[in-house]
């Protein structure tokens, strides 16, 4: 395997693309007793439309997540039980653009790695078991519907993207999952869980060659065709709606504001844009920003205020939200501050301060095996090497962040979603 050393991070990484197209990445961590494996497919909740072998497929929302649930049921029922008895508790998540399966352990890593690769790539489900899962997933969906924070976020995404894939929940809706059949699950598994569309990341004191050998032994010798992801074309950055409002049993109004930004970046430009977006958040409403201190002092926000910058396939937005009695006023203050920073510039010493904190935060992230594996897998799918972040961060300037604020954080690009308590007295009616 090919070894790369990253002296600024104190990390060494082994990489190889196997003959079947699977990328294997091993981050060696000597002196650690924990070993971690992360096996991911480039297939997420937003991948509703794709081309496979020249044919276009359109699928309902929620298939990737449904499939994730079903893969934990293997034909060899003892597999999960064996793992459980060894104290290994494999888990998984489905994101907008990725589905990942992972476990960690101290002993028997290579055996468990084989078990993980086996159950993820050997689907087995029957009509009955798929039917049973429908109720469980519907329950999960209903639970998210009771979560005001989630509803505020979803409302914002709908304002920005209407009913495009970015605005649909990864888990789907109770209606959309009704039409999911065993055959559809098998088809999507065959399309996306093919070695060349996947990555295996191991972190810990793992022998790179041995991990690669196990992957070769268990996975198919040849990859199927890699499906082509169909990405929505962005049609300007004007939200489809400016505002959404929903009544729920909350003690105080909650809001989520979003600003539509350009997507379609790949490679290191994508990583770099992410850093600029994150610094823009820090400068604008981070805990040590002037605006945060001012709004907190005025009682307009509390410590729940927070946000981030998300880059998804064909969709990209900066978002900010929290509890606030006057959410529209908070949005106005944020827009005014963005304009001020964009026009008058971010003070030098404040920029140096947030830059330092951001760099420290990225380094701190490398303490987490989960964080390392997730970042490297994302980088593999999007065409960059995450461990080059110190070099890329070094190229981000104050002017980049000011330009970002000036161009994207403007009233034209903004939408706000509110979750408010029902009007008083309504309960008695």
């Amino acid at each position: 395997m090919r070894e790369t050393e990253y002296p600024r991070l104190g990390e060494r990484v082994w990489r190889e693309t196997l003959p079947n197209g699977l990328e294997v990445i091993v981050v060696r961590k000597p002196y650690h007793v924990r070993k971690y494996a992360f096996f991911a497919a480039r297939y997420g909740g937003m991948d509703l439309r794709f081309q496979l072998e020249g044919r276009r497929r359109v699928t309902p929302a929620g298939v990737a997540h449904y499939l994730e649930h079903k893969l934990f049921e293997s034909q060899d029922g003892n597999l999960m039980q064996e793992m459980g008895r060894s104290g290994v508790d494999p888990n998984a998540f489905t994101a907008e653009d990725m589905t990942a399966y992972y476990f960690s352990c101290t002993d028997g890593f290579y055996r468990h790695l084989g078990e993980l690769l086996r159950f993820v790539t050997a689907p087995y489900f029957t009509r009955e078991s798929v039917e049973r899962e429908r109720g469980i997933i519907a329950q999960e969906i209903r639970m998210t519907e009771d979560d005001p924070e989630w509803r505020a976020y979803e409302g914002m995404m709908r304002c920005l993207y209407g009913d495009g894939p970015a605005a649909l929940p990864v888990v789907g809706t109770v209606e959309s999952i009704q039409s999911i059949t065993p055959q559809l699950l098998y088809d999507c598994h065959r399309a996306f869980y093919t070695p060349a569309n996947m990555v295996l990341v191991c972190v810990g004191d793992v022998e790179p060659d041995r991990a690669a050998e196990i992957a070769m032994e268990i996975l198919p010798a040849e990859s199927g065709p890699v499906p082509a992801r169909e990405v929505e074309k962005q049609n300007g950055f004007i939200p489809l709606r400016r505002e959404a409002m929903l009544e729920m049993e909350v003690s105080m109004p909650q809001f989520m504001a979003g600003f539509k930004c350009p997507a379609h970046l790949t490679g290191e430009t994508l990583l770099r844009e992410g850093m600029i977006g994150d610094l823009a958040c820090d400068a604008l409403f981070g805990e040590s920003s002037p605006l945060y201190t001012q709004l907190y002092g005025q009682g307009l926000i509390n410590s729940s205020l927070g946000g981030g910058f998300d880059q998804l396939p064909g969709a990209c937005q900066l978002y900010v939200g929290g509890d606030a009695r006057e959410p529209r006023r908070v949005l106005d203050e944020i827009l005014a501050e963005a304009r001020r920073l964009g026009e008058q510039g971010i003070p030098e010493d404040f920029f140096r301060q947030i830059r330092r904190a951001a760099y420290g935060g990225m380094l701190r992230g490398l303490n987490s095996f989960e964080g390392i594996a997730g970042s490297l897998a994302e980088g593999r799918f999007d065409g960059y090497d995450y461990f080059r972040f110190p070099e890329i961060f070094g190229t981000v300037t104050k002017q980049d962040v000011e330009a970002f604020l000036r161009e994207h954080i403007t009233p034209e690009h903004a939408a706000i979603s509110l979750v408010v308590p029902p009007p008083r007295g309504a309960a008695e009616v």
């Binding site: 459980g84 060894s86 104290g87 040590s288 330092r356």
Partner: protein
Amino acid sequence: MTRQQLLPGVYLTYLPSEKFKTSILSAQMVVPLRRETAALSALLVNVLSRGTSHCPDMAALNRRLDLLYGAQLDPTVRKKGENQVFGFTASCVEDRFLPAGERLLEPMADLLGDLFCRPATRNGRLDWDFVSSERDNLADLIRGDINDKEIYASLRLLEEMCAGEPYGVRRMGSAGDVEKISLQRLDRYYREVLARARLELFYCGSARLERVRGALERAFAAMPRQGEIPLFPVLRREAPETPRVVVEEMDVGQGKLCVGFRAASGDAPAMRLVNAMFGGVVSSRLFTQVREKLSLCYYADSVYHLRKGIVTVSAGIDAEHYQRTLDEILRQLDAIASGEWEDWELESAQNILRSNLRSMTDSARAMEDFCVGQAAVGGVQTPEDIARELEGVTRERIMAAARSVRPDTIYFLRGRGERL
């Protein structure tokens, strides 16, 4: 790993490690857990976290932390045995990943020292604005315990079962106790703990011991040390003949059943394994039998409170399953005591506990919590020592330890108007 005295009543646990990107520095006061002082300690640490004489408000403190490359500073209040441990845990990026010449350990130690010894004051006392706003926040936070019914039910079980014992006092005291605290009272308490409470310092990172000692001795040199607040061994009680039952009603969909047991056995390794086999790990009986096979509950697990010698079970159930679930929980414990189990159950428990203990050394935060806990109750074991002790435990020792576990209190939180 070493532990040594720096100043009278001030100890440093030093754990050298090159494994992490960040180092951890923690400063924790240790006092007996008592109803009269629990809320005072919790409020004090929140007030101290608002500012120092050098960084007199949150904005200045945040700026300082940003400039230390995004250092983190967390106020902590923990219950360890029947002691209360409160203070700050700080972490910052290791110097070797920063531009040449940057040294973060010394400024971080100074900041910790300032938080304790040089708080933001007004007229020579703790700042009244900070005290009154943090008092409201803390009372709200403690009242918020009721929001998570699973946590709330576990807290209520301990309050009922250990009423009159220090162990029944909540980690941060009660909201009512917090609201009664005056500035004078808090200021007096601050001066008392600063002078007399045991201070446990912890460092995990790549700096040499001499450097860590030097930085901390300087940072805490201003502490006026005069004698030490004594700590006491935990109270151990026996279970009553018939367990007590406490039922409460609330607007909840899912009932919460908690069972507290007294474990008289002094065989700690065997007791750890009994708990793991019973409900402590994924292969346990509560998980595989009561939850998965019999589908009696949404979740069920057990915790062994080692120092106190009690075991608590927590389960989420439909109220109609109350009696069946309770019977089944007791039956599973009896089965372990009478040897009705297969060898793989013990092996699995040993493997999982060993793996958990050894994994702890991969997390500086987990090691901080472990070491502070050991120091607070006078323990001297390493995770590896504990893992080794699990090896030779026999079937007979498991059975004997399980026989010593007897139900003490049953707490059930159910929806209003539901029948048992």
